[in-house]
């Protein structure tokens, strides 16, 4: 029952302090009385007895003091005194306190915000059952320029048959389905999956179930699984929807289940499977027997319990080798399969960026730490005299240390709370400006791990704050300070270290400023880049004919032509066309092998991005015709198969002659084989549609009538406001067929903007870092200059006494600061030129030695340095010579 007894004692000592003190007094009084009486009974006189008793008991106040120090009350008491003292100290110099708290909040806040991203993207396991057993299988078609390619249906079958280490292997293919029930037809981003996909992934339905064996039977009606968002929006969260029939692509389809709201498909970004799919349907069983040249399946595998990733990888590679030997077609020669851990691969692209960001934030945090410590040291040395006096009158060093600690912890508590607010705000800001490729950061939350991170950071920093002034405290010897007239005792070594730190900070902020200047210039260039088309004044929308009454090439061609003519008749429309793939869109790519017609060796085939386009498409997006002609309505489904190739393809196949009239074999019917011979009628300048900064792969274009694709994206060039035109477009289409779903109505420019967004994001981040580094460096310069100026007070006094002008003295202070800044800028500029080489790939159309960026960066830092030194310089100019000398 010791705890109870202790608690009681604690209660007494804390809550009933007065009572305890009175008890002690009474007790000692009564003991004194007893002893006095005892001495009297031994025959002493009352006076002598009292004196003897008193000498036995001793000094009552000392006893009381000693007893007091046992109680926690005492500890709280002095702690409270320390805190009050610390507060008084802070209030005495509020500007310094405020600056420290702000730096602290900014530092902890940004580090916490970035850490929360690291936490949710890299540390948290993927939200699937035993996610560490999931692997993703790629096919390496590097020979065909495709190192991370999907698999063909039969290849998934190979893996399933020969794989022994997997409890399941499933495939998914991104596509769209049209919901054709109700008045508003709608197209959904959907996944076509094998029946065991969700089981392998380890995800459950929220309502109903996921797919199961038998759902893909020939007799059963097709099944669909809907996302929570679609269920909520389109069906008002009606639980009766599960088991009901809806019309999908014009066919009655059973809704088997609704996925939970939190479900997202987190596959590798370049697998072209969107995170936010809206529906899942089953891949037909025959898909697994489609030709081996049609690679479209993304494969997820679940390892059996206890299987090592390395073993699974070996098995997958062995199966791939087998396949490569048995079917050595074009591009397939030496094909390899490889499996990677799903989590590692899903975050493959973002991990280096995120860790880099985290490292940068930690570096800033470190600089901020150094600065704050510098400010505190400066202040501690200005309180030197004060401290020495307190030591002289008997304050223990422990007590002084506790006060420093209290001060540090107060600052870190306030700064830490503000820091969490800053972290929340920064996270919200990051999420709102994030590029589409970083959609996964949307779900980031500040959870317990993040809070602990912030708390540890705050406390560590607080303790460091406490220790920094202590370096001064330890050196304080009462005599030297009191005799030395209150000047600090920090030697030249200390001030050299501080100067070094400032130079370091200035250098870092110069590097960041210069490189972000280069990035900004590159981004500006990027915005002015021609991508081979002109996205301005073009609106786009997509239209799906799935589920419409149109069947067969002739009616679809007729409908398309009719639609284009009607759209062209809308006032303000200057050109109309359609394509299977808009530039920079995220729909799954369509690649077609191609081969010069006279070539029979299929291993020499190239792989081109294939696009199906209507007449008018190139004209609308203002592509550049290099040779020959565009497609016309005469290039019909039953006329001579023709093609337009891009400059890359033309120069690869016919480097020295004109491509026009040449023949090429390709696969416009999506069989995956170059089995149709086409005549080249035109050469178009390569259109960038994958990356904004470089030409990625050859392109081959087929007339839409000769290569049917659905859905098609329409492009309309307008002279008036795009939004007005879209209203007319909708009414035109509704008149033709009100059941057709129109979706993704947006300007073509927005696709290009999305493609640029990642670089824009990088630039904004770099600028933000540069700005914060500059602020920190400014504070650093201020701190050092102010400290040095204070140290030289009496020297300045002597100078004044000898006739120096205030301007000259201020000049001395300024010169010092500018000198430090200049050294920092020089080092920083050199480091920036090295850094610029390292980030060369990020620089678009800007040389790493683009001088204006260096000049502006250096000038900015120098101006900031002068401004920072201005305050102490002015203070030095106002020193009264008499006072500064008298202070000695």
């Amino acid at each position: 029952m010791r705890i109870l007894a202790r608690a009681r004692a604690l209660y007494r000592s804390v809550m009933r302090r007065k009572q305890v003190e009175r008890d002690l007094e009474d007790e000692l009084g009564s003991a004194l009385q007893e002893l006095t009486e005892r001495y009297e009974s031994r025959g002493l006189s009352p006076d002598a007895a009292r004196r003897a008793a008193q000498s036995d008991v001793g000094h009552i106040d000392l006893i009381k003091e000693e007893v007091r120090s046992y109680g926690l009350a005492h500890t709280f008491d002095t702690l409270w005194q320390d805190i009050r003292q610390a507060f008084r100290g802070l209030v005495r110099t509020p500007a310094v306190g405020a600056v420290i708290v702000l730096i602290f909040a900014g530092g902890v806040g940004s580090a916490t915000a970035i850490f929360s991203l690291v936490n949710s993207l890299l540390l948290e396991p993927l939200p699937y059952r035993s996610a560490d057993r999931l692997v993703f299988v790629w096919q390496d078609l590097t020979a065909a320029g495709y190192p991370r390619a999907p698999l063909a249906g039969p290849e998934l079958e190979d893996l399933r048959q020969h794989g022994t280490l997997f409890s399941g292997l499933a495939g998914i293919w991104a596509n769209t389905v049209a919901l054709t029930d109700g008045p508003e037809p709608e197209l959904l981003r959907s996944g076509l999956v094998t029946q065991d996909f969700f089981e392998v992934l380890g995800a459950e339905a929220m309502l109903g179930r996921t797919f199961r064996a038998g759902d893909d039977g020939p007799e059963t009606p097709p099944a669909i699984l809907l996302s929570h968002a679609v269920w909520k929006r389109r069906y008002n969260s009606d639980p009766r929807l599960v088991g009901a029939r809806i019309r999908v692509n014009g066919r009655p389809t059973t809704v088997v289940g609704i996925m939970p709201e939190s479900f997202a498909l987190l596959l590798p970004q370049d697998a072209a499977i969107p995170d936010d799919q809206q529906a899942w349907v089953l891949l037909g069983r025959d898909a697994l027997t489609w030709p081996r040249q049609q690679q479209f399946l993304r494969v997820v595998g679940r390892m059996k319990p206890g299987v090592e990733l390395a073993d699974a990888q070996r098995e997958v590679a062995a199966i791939g080798e087998q396949v490569g030997r048995e079917y050595s077609d074009y591009g397939k020669d030496g094909a390899k399969f490889y499996a990677v851990g799903l989590q590692a691969d899903a975050t493959r692209e973002i991990r280096p960026a995120l860790l880099g960001l985290f490292a940068a934030v930690c570096l800033l945090l470190l600089i901020a730490c150094v600065n704050v410590a510098g400010l505190l040291i400066t202040r501690a040395s200005s309180r030197h005299h004060d401290t020495a006096v307190r030591i002289a009158v008997g304050a223990s060093r422990l007590r002084l240390f506790r006060q420093c600690l209290a001060e540090g912890l107060i600052l870190s508590a306030i700064g830490g709370c503000l820091g969490l607010l800053v972290a929340r705000a920064m996270l919200a800001a990051l999420v709102s400006v994030r590029p589409p490729a970083l959609a996964r950061i949307d779900g980031t939350v500040l959870d317990m791990r993040v809070f602990s991170f912030a708390a540890v950071l705050a406390i560590a920093w607080g303790v460091m704050f406490a220790l920094a002034p202590l370096t001064q405290l330890v050196r304080t010897t009462v005599l030297s300070v009191l005799r030395g007239g209150g000047r600090g005792t920090a030697g030249p070594a200390g001030s050299r270290v501080r100067s070094g730190l400032v130079v370091f900070q200035v250098a870092i902020s110069s590097v960041l400023l210069i490189t972000s200047g280069l990035l900004a210039k590159g981004f500006y260039e990027l915005q002015r880049t021609k991508y081979g088309f002109d996205p301005e004044h073009v609106v786009t929308f997509k239209l799906s004919l799935a589920g419409s009454r149109l069947r067969g090439a002739a009616p679809i061609a007729a409908f398309s032509t009719e639609l284009r003519h009607r759209l062209a008749a809308i006032p303000g429309v200057t050109a109309v066309g359609a394509t299977s793939h808009l530039p920079f869109d995220t729909v799954p790519n369509w690649g077609s092998p191609y081969l010069a017609a006279h070539e029979s060796d299929e291993t020499r085939a190239g792989l081109a991005d294939a696009r199906s386009i209507t007449p008018g498409y190139f004209e609308t997006v203002a592509a550049e015709l290099m040779e020959g002609r565009w497609f016309t309505d005469a290039d019909a489904y039953n006329s001579l198969p023709v093609t337009i190739v891009d400059t890359m393809l033309a120069s690869r196949l016919w480097p020295t002659e004109s491509a026009i009239g040449k023949q090429v074999k390709a696969g416009p019917a999506t069989t995956g084989r170059p089995d149709v011979t086409l005549t080249v009628v035109g050469v178009v300048r390569h259109i960038r549609h994958r990356e904004v900064t470089r030409d990625v792969r050859e392109q081959i274009y087929f007339p839409a009538q000769q290569s049917l694709r659905n859905p098609m994206a329409y492009v309309i060039r307008t002279t008036t406001d795009g939004a007005d035109v879209m209203v007319s477009v909708r009414s035109v289409i509704a008149k033709l067929d009100p059941t057709l779903p129109i979706y993704d109505a947006r300007p073509l420019e927005s696709y290009a903007a999305h493609a640029r967004a990642t670089r824009g994001f990088t630039m904004v981040l770099a600028l933000a870092f540069a700005a914060s580094a500059l602020i920190l460096a400014t504070i650093g310069i201020y701190g050092v200059t102010a400290y040095n100026a204070a140290q030289r007070r009496s020297e300045f006094g002597v100078r004044y006494a000898l006739g120096a002008q205030p301007r000259q003295v201020a000049g001395l202070v300024l010169r010092n600061a500018v000198l430090l800044a200049a050294v920092g800028v020089a080092i920083g500029s050199f480091a920036a030129s090295v850094a610029a080489q390292l980030i060369r790939v990020q620089l678009y159309h800007v040389g790493p030695s683009y001088l204006p960026a260096y000049a502006i960066g250096a000038a900015t830092v120098l101006v900031a340095a002068v401004l920072a030194a201005w305050i102490p310089a002015r203070r030095a100019a106002r020193i009264s010579p008499i006072e500064s000398l008298r202070a000695n």
């Binding site: 029952m1 009681r8 004692a9 001793g58």
Partner: protein
């Protein structure tokens, strides 16, 4: 060295107080009297070290102090050994025995 010997002494005072209270509740002066009597005045604990020790032991929860009356009818704080105190006494006794055995060995060694 000075520091260590006070530590040792402090421990001794604690042990003496706890042992005395094991025999029954007593007030401060009576505790000192009893110790002096048993040790035949080898240990005379002055109130100046007795009362702080009592309050420290109370803060540790080893003894409980209550206002009561002495056999002579005087008002005084009477201390009782708590359960935790009994346990602590056992520990200190064993400690002491170990020390005294060890000391004995040192002193008897040739």
């Amino acid at each position: 060295m000075a520091f260590r010997s006070t530590e040792l002494l402090k421990g001794t005072v604690d042990l003496l107080i706890l042992r005395t209270l094991e025999l029954g509740p007593r007030h401060g002066v009576a505790i000192a009297d009893r110790i002096a009597q048993i040790t035949r005045n080898t240990f005379v604990i002055k109130p100046g070290s007795l009362f702080p020790a009592l309050h420290r032991l109370e803060a540790d929860g080893f003894i409980l102090g209550e206002w009561g009356e002495t056999p002579e009818g005087r008002r005084a704080r009477v201390y009782t050994l708590s359960a935790a105190g009994k346990k602590q006494l056992g520990i200190e006794k064993r400690n002491w025995e170990r020390i005294s055995v060890a000391m004995g060995q040192v002193l008897e060694a040739e």
